[in-house]
């Protein structure tokens, strides 16, 4: 349904998205994950025809977003990051207007509107001014306008940002249900959200796609490293790191610089380290042996399970850590 080939987008001299290619098939729910400023919103704006790409080709439902922009826009429901609402209209008036500018005729709106209001559970607020709604209900109104005209493709930019936790859960459920009948591209910077809703995750950072996988596979793939927290007494950092790197199953070793750990270690007089090792080999054993052979005091050795959040951090901050 959505096909992006070698798409780049610059804002003046600044590249926002660099050579991105991916495809979203009919019926797929794809999560678009990345930190703020990674290029998620820009990519979505290109897909929705709001802004043209600087380079590359983007088609939605077979229509090019530049040359057949109107056709693309007819097939898309879009929820931008800041939910665009007319605060001085009632929910019903707002949705009716949105339907009309999407090309729906009067009877279609009449027929469709109650269903959509029901779907997003806005029934009791249908005659309330949009400006009086709480943030969660505004979000639902925004979702309602995106699905009103029965679009083939739904594009949602950070649909749960800034709403309270209970409403977040409800909104996620709503989106999951919508995914049953729509092709969907959904952006988020919250991992559990994406893994809860989406069957496929694209991770974007600094304008480039850095991973494209199922949420489960993504974590499995990143299990290429087993992370081990180690504290030793009597070892200098460079010396320790070098000795660790000599071990064949160790991928990398570095000082643990997390503030809480550093404070504790200064108080108790040991040095904290983080070691990444290959999984499924007896790395902990070899590490422990090496530490003891060097005559250091081993005070802690804990293998850490990697959460999705860490995978995400790993994916998007790896380069910065190396610098």
């Amino acid at each position: 349904m959505i096909k992006i080939e070698h798409m780049s987008k610059n804002y003046g001299p600044y590249p926002a998205v660099i050579d991105v290619s991916f495809e979203v098939l009919k019926g797929e729910i794809v999560g678009f994950l990345g930190p703020n400023g990674a290029g998620k919103t820009t990519t979505m704006r290109v897909v929705t025809g709001f802004t043209p790409p600087t380079e590359g080709e983007v088609t939605v439902g077979g229509y090019d977003v530049v040359s057949h922009s109107l056709d693309v826009r007819r097939h898309i429901g879009y929820l931008p990051e800041t939910v665009p609402l007319y605060l001085d209209m009632t929910v019903t008036d707002y949705l009716t207007y949105m339907g009309e500018i999407r090309g729906m005729n009067g009877s279609w709106v009449q027929e469709r509107l109650p269903k959509v209001i029901d779907m997003v559970k806005l029934g009791e607020y249908r005659n309330t001014l949009v400006g009086r709604l709480s943030k969660g209900y505004r979000q639902r109104t925004g979702i309602a306008q995106a699905i009103l005209h029965e679009p083939d493709v739904l594009v949602m930019d950070e649909p749960t940002i800034g709403i309270d936790p209970i409403q977040v859960v409800e909104t996620r459920e709503l989106i999951s249900n919508l995914g049953e009948e729509h092709t969907m591209l959904l952006s988020s910077h919250i991992l559990p959200e994406v893994s809860a809703i989406c069957k496929r995750v694209l991770v974007i950072n600094d304008g480039r796609i850095v991973a494209d996988d199922k949420p489960d596979d993504l974590s499995e793939k990143l299990q290429h490293a087993e992370r081990i927290e180690i504290s030793v007494r009597g070892a200098e950092a460079p010396e320790f790191i070098n000795s660790m790197r000599e071990i064949s199953s160790v991928i990398d070793a570095r000082s643990d610089l997390r503030a809480s750990v550093v404070q504790k270690s200064e108080r108790e007089g040991f040095s904290p380290f983080i070691v990444d090792a290959k999984p499924n080999v007896q790395a902990t054993e070899q590490i422990a042996k090496s530490i003891i052979n060097n005559g250091w005091g081993l005070t802690n050795l804990t293998p850490l399970p990697m959460t999705l959040e860490e995978i995400f951090l790993e994916l998007t901050t790896e380069e910065n850590l190396d610098e």
Binding site: Y11, F50, I76, P80, V83, Y86, Y97, R102, G103
Partner: protein, 253 residues
């Protein structure tokens, strides 16, 4: 066409849902009423709407941008412009729809003020020619000033910027004869050709003037000239086109 009317109807409803329409109408009626009364209340005054017209076109320098300042700036501020531009709408449909809404509001105000004409017919014997040409001119003048105001509104997400820029452009076109009077030859003539029509001599209680070299002078006198009509239509068209271009350019940023 359907989209244009959808947008126009929405905007007209928004005008009536906010105090804006009522405040501006009240101010328009009060100010034009003042000029009308002042111009016909002398014992031997001419039974004409000259004072009303002069007052109306002067006031429109500020009223038109005030009516249009919200139209596009607000969409940018609320982010709804992103929705409009990702709907299957063309930019000109958005711009036309909004222009028509503002124009309709202005027409309603002009129609409300027509009781002045009724008063003239009851108490005097007005010349019908200048009356009709004056109203025609006023309508065209309103269109031109609204187009300038709409353009100003498209420039930023701040309504006040829209108001100031819009009134600024219209004021510049109004006082352009101050500049042209100090020039000579072609330059002076070219500048004069852009004279919008209103004049500060409207505050002169003996004449209630419009700009003598401006495009409204003939309308006020009862003459309908092609040049004047072409001028107002051109200003309207050019500024609506510029507004469309500003919206299109937004895409390419």
């Amino acid at each position: 066409m359907r989209f244009i009317s959808v947008i126009a109807i929405k905007e007209i409803r928004t005008y009536f849902a906010s105090p804006m329409a009522y405040v501006v109408s009240a101010a328009f009626l009060a100010i034009t009423g003042f000029f009308f009364v002042a111009s016909v209340s002398d014992a031997f005054a001419e039974a004409s709407i000259r004072g009303y017209l002069a007052g109306a076109i002067f006031f429109m320098i500020f009223m038109s941008p005030a009516l249009t300042m919200r139209l596009i700036a607000e969409e940018q501020k609320l982010g709804t412009l992103e929705l409009l531009l990702t709907s299957p709408l063309r930019e000109f449909e958005i711009v036309f729809g909004k222009f028509i809404a503002a124009f309709a509001m202005t027409l309603i105000m002009i129609i409300l003020s027509l009781y002045f004409v009724l008063v003239l017919f009851v108490y005097g014997d007005p010349d019908i020619g200048p009356l009709l040409s004056g109203l025609l001119g006023l309508t065209m003048y309103a269109g031109a000033t609204l187009a300038v105001g709409l353009f100003a509104s498209s420039l930023s997400s701040n309504q006040i910027v829209g108001l100031v820029v819009g009134s600024g452009i219209l004021t510049a076109l109004t006082i352009i004869d101050f500049v042209s009077a100090r020039l000579s030859g072609i330059a002076s003539e070219v500048l004069n050709a852009f004279q919008l029509g209103a004049s500060f001599s409207v505050f002169d209680l003996d004449s209630f003037g419009v700009a003598e070299g401006g495009h409204f002078a003939d309308f006020a006198r009862g003459i309908i000239s092609v040049t004047d009509i072409a001028y107002y239509i051109s200003i309207t068209a050019v500024f609506l086109l510029l507004t469309v271009l500003v919206l299109e350019a937004r895409r390419w940023r």
